[in-house]
Homo-oligomer: 335 residues x 2
């Protein structure tokens, strides 16, 4: 594998920091690494593979000589700067929602649609965190028995919003313990000791953008417009890890045992499903693993071929940074 | 309305204390009040309507002269002592799961099936907390458009487990803030910064008893065995208030606007559904109200006639103590 020059845009954010540490963990074969951010974070020193790197301000010229640019700096930055990177010969793997539904841009979970990576015109999009863990788990079930409809409810961690939200949860929890007034700045309401059925903006039909992402991105990644998805996305007072209660209606019969067997062989998925021993996926375990955890697998007899599942993953890693880097790795392996 | 003699069994527990305070708030017409508990809590002094009451140990003889006995002391106590109360002429309203599925015992949510109260043989059962708030909300929709199938995911507060669990969440949260080791005694795993997809015991088919309660109690209360329900019940790090993401498939069309209109007129239900102003039901608001809050009402186009809703209530009050006392009030009004 040839060595490549890599840039991380948004390197000092919650996901950006995970990207840098995953590049080190997985010994990503970069020749040169450029860490980019806004002026506010420029000058920050970060470490990767034993070297120190000074964070620089992102400009169009930052991408000169870059082969792969990993973006996690929000949609506006991606819209403005990804084309500049592509123009200079880089392939962009973008963690924002800017290009996800662009028909010219592949939207990829490597366990599901790795081949789409090579249909890129310079930009490959990384899906929404909640969608990644769901489709990575459902893919082997889809292949075996087809999926007609998905009803999903999420239990999402505040780190999906960013470092500020993690701090806000911590501060609010302290205030409650000290019987002080709770202040909310990141979220419209208190998140400690509460659940917010509100992630991203609302549309006129009452669904949020997060819920729509789960509907539309699932169809695009799985390459099947006929899969029906309805979602309720909620924020829970947990720092790291998204959980999901997923109900599916399949085309054909698939027992819970058979589903467990298929999932046990699926790449990137770990079955944690031993209720007798109180073993099931939980956020406190997801923090430590790169796998998507699935358990509580049971047959739903309210439809002909139904299953209920409980899916948990680290939203900062598989839900964002790790999936982005796995896309980059796949790109290198076949290039 | 004649005055009656009331006993509260389990008066010092989380729900028992709510019962005593609701008897006061609603000026329940009791002549005499007897507060009963185990030996451990006997001697405790509690107040109600300006009087002091000393908690006594429950014995069969405690029920001599009692007209209405409100039980919230767990299934074993109900099984042992409710028949003793009935034998002595009391009507028992039981908050445990002991008699809920007994065909001789009515299972009642006054907003749904008040007439069943009068079909009792001495015992009336109060449903599971998660079921009460769901059926109280779905009843007007059921009447207008029928309900074929319900897919529900819950976000339940630790107070459903009891006072010990509330203390455990508080202690664990402090330990995490102080970077100390977290100890779990009430739950099999840490609940602070975590979600447990595990409420009550597991059955062989993978569902929990809590999930089965939602399936079976819904049918019994709504008086329709054909309603199909599948549930995932999860515990979230919140002290008070259960939230539920509820997806329903109806027999006939009912728009979100029409559902909102029906729910606005429904007794005990409050519509909180103004996403533009970030208004939706939340646990922090449920703590302060006796109503069941419903919002995020939207049409689910993945089935012919579908709706998604977000339902929140105070699990200690409408989910337990309040519903029990509302049953007793109905009993008195018509007797």
């Amino acid at each position: 594998m040839e060595k490549v020059n890599v840039a991380v845009v948004g390197a000092t954010g919650a996901v950006g920091r995970e990207m840098v540490s995953i590049l080190e963990e997985r010994d990503f074969p970069f020749a040169d690494l450029k860490l980019l951010a806004t002026e506010r974070s420029a000058g920050t020193i970060m470490n990767c593979k034993g070297e120190e790197y000074e964070v620089e301000v992102t400009t169009p010229e930052s991408f000169e000589g870059i082969d792969i640019a990993l973006f996690s700096a929000g949609s506006t930055a991606s819209k403005n700067l990804a084309p500049e990177a592509v123009k200079r010969g880089a392939v962009v793997v973008d963690n924002s929602s800017a290009y996800r539904m662009d028909p010219e841009v592949p939207l990829v979970v490597p366990e599901v649609n790795p081949d789409d990576i090579f249909k890129n015109n310079g930009i490959i999009a990384n899906p929404n965190c909640s969608t990644i863990q769901m489709v990575a788990t459902l893919e082997p079930i889809y292949k075996a028995a087809g999926i007609k409809r998905i009803v999903v409810s999420t239990y999402q961690a505040v780190s999906g919003t960013g470092k500020d939200a993690m701090d806000e949860l911590e501060e609010q929890t302290k205030s409650i313990a000290n019987e002080e007034e709770v202040e909310s700045e990141v979220y419209p309401h208190q998140i400690s000791q509460n659940v917010l059925p509100h992630i991203d903006v609302f549309f006129d039909d009452g669904y949020t953008k997060e819920e729509k992402k789960m509907v539309n991105e699932t169809k695009k990644i799985m390459g099947d417009d006929k899969i029906k998805v309805t979602a309720t996305a909620a924020r829970v007072p947990v720092s790291i890890g998204h959980a999901e209660a997923v109900n599916i209606e399949m085309e054909e019969e698939l027992t819970a045992d058979k589903a467990r067997e298929l999932l046990a062989q699926a790449p990137g998925v770990q079955v944690v499903d031993n209720p007798e021993e109180n073993e099931y996926p939980m956020q406190i375990n997801a923090e430590k693993t790169d796998d998507v955890l699935v358990g509580r697998i049971r047959e739903d007899k309210t439809v002909d071929y139904g299953l209920d599942l409980w899916i948990v993953a680290n939203n900062l890693r598989k839900g964002a940074a790790l999936n982005t880097i796995q896309i980059a790795e796949t790109l290198l392996q076949k290039s």
